[in-house]
């Protein structure tokens, strides 16, 4: 792996709150174009990790390096990243286009290219017809598509996705999940995807970073051995899912293997 391939490098990362550790020690790298899922039990420090990776919260210890620039140094550059939240977090008083323009206005993207860029991204997400709609008029799935469009729009070094499908109904989640891999491949986006669903992680990711219970460390860097395109109901997905459940049963202290999986439609 060359250094230019590495988009995100996390070295000896630790986060504590008032002396109580939330993240014990994290070391990992993510390459350009990779789709990496983060899987961890509740309370393992995923939110703290996302906050440090998004530039919102300096870690107690360690380094976060984005495209060769270290974050949280006095003169470090702001990272250019996208974020897809669990809830869409669109501004309801701005139309879809206005929401996207606001994010572009804070980026280095030249103004004369905004219109074309917005059109292109909305086309990729299949929501061009909602360009001038208020977010309130959209369904949950459509809003989350706009949220993904917003993240892709700024040409980010990487996109953080915090359980973006967990609030959607299963049918919508399936449809968006299916499209997400295609969108990421088409745009070359690097994605860090946090989820509670093992099957979702197996279906979407190239690699899965499995965390221990909090204060977390990486229990396993799991490479998903299934080529793309994948089928969510494929037996191999289920086999890998079962394999991961077997591996985490003891470190996560699970009684029943199915407890971490959402029932599929």
């Amino acid at each position: 792996m060359t250094s230019s391939d590495t988009v995100l490098k996390v070295v000896d990362l630790g986060v504590s709150y008032g002396g109580s550790p939330a993240i014990s020690r994290l070391d990992f790298e993510i390459r350009r174009g990779e789709f990496v899922a983060i899987l961890g039990p509740s309370g393992c420090g995923k939110s703290s990790m996302l906050n440090t990776l998004s530039g919102l919260m300096a870690p107690t210890r360690g380094r976060v390096v984005v495209d060769g620039d270290e974050l949280y140094l006095p003169r470090s550059r702001d990272p250019r990243l996208g974020y897809v939240f669990q809830a869409h977090r669109l501004l309801p008083w701005r139309t879809v286009r206005q929401n996207l323009e606001l994010v572009l206005s804070a980026s280095e993207v030249p103004r004369e290219t905004w219109e074309a860029r917005i059109d292109e991204i909305l086309e990729i997400l299949h929501i061009s017809q909602f360009k001038d709609a208020w977010p309130m008029r959209l369904s949950g799935g459509q809003r989350q598509r706009v949220s993904i469009a917003r993240a892709l729009l700024v040409d980010p070094s990487y996109i953080l996705m915090d359980e973006p499908l967990s609030t959607l109904d299963e049918v919508t989640a399936r449809s968006l999940r299916q499209e997400l891999t295609g969108i990421c491949q088409r745009t070359g986006a690097t994605v860090v995807f946090v989820t509670h669903s093992i099957r979702e992680a197996v279906y979407l990711a190239d690699r899965i970073l499995i965390l221990t219970r909090g204060p977390s460390t990486i229990f396993e860097d799991y490479h998903v051995p299934i080529e793309r395109p994948r089928d969510y109901d494929d037996a191999r997905i289920r086999e890998v899912e079962a394999d991961i459940i077997r591996r985490i049963q003891v470190p996560w202290g699970l009684d029943m293997p199915q407890t971490t999986e959402r029932r599929s439609a």
Binding site: S54, G55, L56, D78, L81, Y83, F85, A87, R89, L91, P92, W93, R94, L102, V103, S105, A106, S107, W134, M136, R137, R150, V154
Partner: protein, 264 residues
């Protein structure tokens, strides 16, 4: 009888909003008020004028240039104090809502200011600045600002902090985040504060004029009271109250509709 206890068949016949809602309700309310007013006028004659006498006096007032001069003066005072108190109150409210340091400084002052009866401000302003325009302007602004600050502060505290995070992650400059992300969230509270500020401003303006100004609607009402011309007191007050209500509902209502149009 509450809506819950009404039989289902009757509930279906009621207009939205419950019994007496809509135009029939308004007619009944106005009719009842006129009847009570007339009875009061008979019982406490001559201190309460009859509705008919008051209507004649209202018509006379509307044709009087002196009345309109007073009206314009009072309106200017109300609008001036309203604008300053709303802007200052909103600014302080946002500051307190966003900054713990600012809250530590302003909160005790705010609590004290809210506890002071409004006439106290008026008396002290007259003592400090005399009976000119400044006293009224200062008294109104100082009395209204804390209420606006309090309403806006609560709204800032109750904002969606998820949107703050979104703004930080997408590196929105502070001014852009304030304008496009925070202020729109505060619009309902700002409108409530503006309505409250306007209502308080015109009521206090009349009191300020009655106590310490030689002109304006308040002074006119006080002069009529001094001469025991109760028809003039009632007529002037009614015209002014109706005008202020129309202004509030008309202008602020339109602003509200425009700013909250996205709600559909």
């Amino acid at each position: 009888m509450t809506a819950k206890t009404l039989p289902l068949a009757r509930l279906r016949l009621l207009p939205p909003g419950g019994p007496g809602a809509g135009l029939p309700g308004l007619v009944i309310a106005l009719g009842s008020m006129l009847v009570i007013w007339q009875l009061g006028a008979i019982a406490v004659r001559p201190w309460i004028p009859t509705p008919a006498d008051t209507a004649v006096e209202i018509w006379a007032n509307l044709q009087s240039p002196e009345f309109w001069l007073d009206f314009r003066l009072t309106l200017a005072r109300v609008l001036g104090a309203f604008a300053l108190a709303t802007l200052a109150g909103a600014a302080v409210g946002i500051l307190i809502g966003l900054s713990e340091r600012a809250e530590a400084f302003f909160q005790p002052l705010l609590a004290l200011a809210l506890a002071v009866p409004d006439p106290v401000y008026i008396i002290f302003a007259i003592l400090a600045f005399g009976t000119g325009e400044v006293a009224g302007f200062v008294a109104l602004t100082v009395a209204v600002t804390p209420f606006v600050s309090n309403i806006v502060r609560s709204s800032v505290r109750a904002r969606d902090t998820g949107l703050d995070e979104m703004a930080r992650i997408y590196r929105l400059p502070r001014a852009a985040a304030l304008r496009h992300q925070l202020l729109p969230q505060l619009v309902p509270a700002l409108l409530t504060a503006a309505r409250f500020s306007f209502a308080l401003s015109w009521k206090l303006a009349v009191v300020v004029e009655a106590i310490g100004q030689p002109d304006g609607i308040g002074a006119s009402i006080f002069e009529s009271f001094r001469l025991l011309r109760m028809r003039e007191v009632a007529a002037t007050a009614i015209i002014f109250i109706l005008a202020m209500q129309l202004l509030e509902r008309g202008v602020l209502g339109r602003v509200e509709k425009r700013l909250l149009g996205w709600r559909g």
